[in-house]
Assembly symmetry: C2
Homo-oligomer: 748 residues x 2
Amino acid sequence: MLNQFGALLKKRALTPLLFSGQYGIEREGQRIDHQGQLQQTVLPFKAGHPYLRNDFARSQAEMVTDYFSSRQQTLNQLAALNAVLLRQLKAGEMLWPLSMPPKLGDLKAIKVAAPTKSAQRYRENIGKKYGYRMQMMSAVHFNFSLPEKLLRTLFETDYHDQFADHYIAFHNAVYLKLAQNYLRYRYVLTYLLGASPLAESDFFQQQPGPSEMVRSLHMSQKYGYDNVAAQQVSLSSLTDYVTDLQRLLKTHELQGPRELYAAVRFHGQSLAQLPQTGVHYLELRTFDLNPFAPAGLTATDFSFLQLFLAYLLVLPSTPQTDLNAQLKHGAALNEAIALESPLNVSQAQTQLAQFMAGLKQFMLDYQAPQALQNAWQLMQKRVEDYRQTPSYQLCQMSQNQSLQSWGIKQARTFKKQVTTACYQLPGYLSFPLTSQLILAAAFRRGINVQVLDSQSAILRLNQQVVLGNGQSSLNTQSATLLVQNRFATKTVLGQAGLPVPPGATYQEMTSAIQAFATLPQQPLVVKPKISAHGAGVTVLLSPNKTDFKMAAKSAFAYDSTIMVEPYLNGTIYRFLVIDEQVAAIAECTPANVVGDGRHTLATLVQLKNQKRGKQTPFSPLPLDQLTKFDLQQQGYNLQQVLPRGQQVYLRLAADFATGSDAIDVTKEMDTSYQKLALTAAKALKLKVAGINMVIANLYQPLVPEQSNMANILSVTAQPELAVHEVPFFGQGQPVTQQLLKVLFAATK
Amino acid sequence: MLNQFGALLKKRALTPLLFSGQYGIEREGQRIDHQGQLQQTVLPFKAGHPYLRNDFARSQAEMVTDYFSSRQQTLNQLAALNAVLLRQLKAGEMLWPLSMPPKLGDLKAIKVAAPTKSAQRYRENIGKKYGYRMQMMSAVHFNFSLPEKLLRTLFETDYHDQFADHYIAFHNAVYLKLAQNYLRYRYVLTYLLGASPLAESDFFQQQPGPSEMVRSLHMSQKYGYDNVAAQQVSLSSLTDYVTDLQRLLKTHELQGPRELYAAVRFHGQSLAQLPQTGVHYLELRTFDLNPFAPAGLTATDFSFLQLFLAYLLVLPSTPQTDLNAQLKHGAALNEAIALESPLNVSQAQTQLAQFMAGLKQFMLDYQAPQALQNAWQLMQKRVEDYRQTPSYQLCQMSQNQSLQSWGIKQARTFKKQVTTACYQLPGYLSFPLTSQLILAAAFRRGINVQVLDSQSAILRLNQQVVLGNGQSSLNTQSATLLVQNRFATKTVLGQAGLPVPPGATYQEMTSAIQAFATLPQQPLVVKPKISAHGAGVTVLLSPNKTDFKMAAKSAFAYDSTIMVEPYLNGTIYRFLVIDEQVAAIAECTPANVVGDGRHTLATLVQLKNQKRGKQTPFSPLPLDQLTKFDLQQQGYNLQQVLPRGQQVYLRLAADFATGSDAIDVTKEMDTSYQKLALTAAKALKLKVAGINMVIANLYQPLVPEQSNMANILSVTAQPELAVHEVPFFGQGQPVTQQLLKVLFAATK
């Protein structure tokens, strides 16, 4: 019935949809220490955590992604979950990278995970029934649903007659075809992705293992994660599937549908109603973990699965009369490949090569996306040369029939990868650091995360709380607008009796220059009324008319009004206010290098930049015209070599976005200045505010009459969190956690 | 002591400050009808209104501006107050433009304004004491304070020794000098600005008036707004001033300091403490209304006062020994000029010319701003030719010794000027219309208005409520961010079960074009993920690849992601939601012209644009490449002449910012769609929202299953108010009032 599927897709120009769908990944893994010992402590995540939880054993962690309509989004979240999980494990605790468990030791010591009583009972039962060893294997599950638009369109244009106007019948038929073909051809995946050639020595104690290394113990029926029930559930029709499964449940051969350890499972609203309400997605189970990939599978693995599934849809359907034979044949072929030696050419080499050739023809014919074609290329090499398969390569890594030491090493590498720059979140590296910190905190705390737009970094947490790059529902629209405007901000602060620098505004160059003549000889700051991150701001240490004109021009480039203020002595501090509390305070040291008696300033800048990133608070040190000018004002140039220990500023105006260093001083700042920051936030009606203040001496209590002790320079309504979480020097402050706490409290 | 003032200002390069200061204007005026009858109804403004209130009589309105540091700001607010007052008067009610009242009729019919018991008593008393006639004159008062920076700097650099380190003494001395010189030279202003040559016939009944026309009855001592007390208060020192005034109060010769009808008055914290706490500002009183200026004085009048006051500061101080003689001389000269005939050269022509020559020298010497120099030029002409004076010109306007009919005509002109485009607010025409409506409503309701930044139109009302161009504290920062993003908005609405168009997003041209091939042949909309006011949005009625590419390119110019959706049939409506209520609904008809059988489309666009403004909802009709393309899609071109009555769209995409017409349908829309709008606002967490919906038939109740009945196209968190207040067709809706009400309720 569905043999014309591919031709019709082409006819209806729907082929691009063939390579899309909804995807979700589940990935399990054993927690070990550096000796490879299983870690039996309770996982540090709350019960009911949507992303991070236990599988069978306490030692066995599981990451579960949301459903996404793109490969990249799915993998991004998986990478993030992996990082969050690994970071949350205690020091020295890591994730075993292989599907077959590490040395298990005393089986009695293995603690079943027991988030609830019934979960405990279920696990104890399956532990008894299948043995703890089998339950300790770890897998990747790949959940997939077809694009609704593809099915709906084809149904309406071509299939409504054949299915008697019954859409769900057509929908289910497509899923059934997919599942059947999957079982016929999954041997290809077992060859390509199989990565469990051996088990550690204490695994095969009750049952003897294979005599030599294989492609995949875990994906084999004999030794793998499989059960008798899986063969008792027919895939000849969806009704049969449901009937068979229901019978097994009724006779208590299975405790629940999830005990069906089949290679493919149907998911829908309810088992009984599956034929009526339709399959929601297929669960492709028990893939071997890819031990070379930090998250258990690579983008190439994923792309190949997309291509493979698309191909299965256009391959001919299996005639009902031939079905059982074909499925049996597929299972036998899979078992043979799983249990053959990875150190030789496969016995199914011809079938594999033929399948891959057909797949190539298909991908060219249907214009598969480039990433999928690239994946084919890579997998084709594995077919052409068995030494390219992961199972072969793992054999090379083994020592004395063991992967224990290789696995520990690999685990250590993966853990180190995600714990060196904890302010970043793998999968979301292009997001602003503040957003990365929020995402990480949300994943950690089990808050549902939805990226509404990745380019603008708009997040929604628990379907309720919308957050941008520091923007939240805690601040209002008008307060945000107000503080974007330096002049309006200063006016409001001044009127509230708060200390702000004196100064004047100008709308034209001529009046600014005229006024300049009247100013006393003192250092000045020239800035635009509105600009982001201190753009167009120039400090003039000994202002002359030429420099002033240059500074004014640079400010006028951003706004039609410029502000001229005295440059105040003191250090600039960023106060982070969250809900009437000072959450953290960071000194903002202007972009600088420290002389070493050897390198020129230009080289020192390069050297320091190598250690910095691209995002605040690790933005690169500036090296532009203004740097040269600012250095010149201080009497330096870039070619100069400074004595060891001498610090020099590359920007006189301090801003975290232009290379300033953040130094935590939360515990040191006198409370009088903290009160000032709180009053300022209140005057501006900001619940969340970043307040920049110049303070002469942070230890000396403020005397309000002394105008030079503290002045508020600028305010932001969407403050950076990273400058406080990961300061350049000093103690990080848990401000992200605090923001989320307040945010969720306010939402209730 | 202060004779070196000017030289020191120059030395300290402070001369630009000489022409600045703080200004406030009070302006009175009689309410009349078209017959010139005084209007005795209660003024439609609340008691304690800060801007609009009564003077002596109910018929006498007074506008009081805030204090501003610029002429333009002061005049802007005055113009706005004038417009708001005139618009609030009932039809046929106007403002008499002259200082001398219109025909008073039966004095007993004049009702004293009585906002409070004590105000009533005070006014009844002065009415008895000075006669109702005198109290019925109207004036402009000019309040002025010197720039603090000028005084402080000069004090610190040059005067601290002379004033024994006592700043307030110096400060007061400067004000005293200014006041003394003002009294000596104010005759110049009386000549230049005098504009009350005659009184109506029933004015001089108790006291005989002058036998012929004069320059200024109102500014004369004999007939004007003056009292004996004014001569009993010495200006020889501030202490004398206070002592004299206190004595008059003690003996009940005056009811309060405000009964001192002097030409200049000192204001400070309290009368008794004036010498200690300092003069805050000078009140220059009883200027004649300029009857040729809608607001009672022109920018030139104002500029000349600035120049005049600056000159008085640098003119020599009057020696204490000579002071009384000089003040007496000044008063006599003023009286002579006030009461001489405006139809001849002044008897003080030599003094006037000398003064103006000195003033010119000063303004060149001190580089007075151009506007002030221009004012001098204009006033100089009045000195050179008495026929240029307002008093002379008014004489020409009089008929039978009466200005009654001229005054009525002038009043009518001024009223008409401000009541033809009531959605605009004079003084703030450069602001977005939404802001103009908010400003007008605030001035009307007596809400204190502060323009925090005029370029960004940031307002603060009652020192509490910050408003932008539709932005307020009712919406949050994150909800604002969310709805700026079309894709994120659509996602959230869709997930909330609300109807949104289907469609797809693309990050690259190639994938967009590839996907285009798969789309069914139907009209499309291509738009950027983020852009303001529908920029980069293209409708394709019969899409082909070339046009699609052009549309995609135009969208990619605004954002790196574009959205492609079917172009839905129906009409677009804007729902304005305020605080869980649909405040108004406007149909958004795409920019269009209607054929007349004569003109080409290009000409029709020009003709329609002549009637439109520059701001939403009267934005000009577009006449660009996209117009040509959209016309072409409909089978038209700009050179075509259409039959009478045939409407054609100049933009297929409707947007109020690109020439769409707003048609009010608030009362017509079926409630089911209103509920949809409210649910959408709720899902997006917006208290204030503009929701654009395409609806097939506004009268037909929504059937949720029918996806083509209504779809939400876009949402804004800072909706235009003007499209509802002043629709192109239909009833205006009082949405500004409603927004302010909710806003102030939320602030409490």
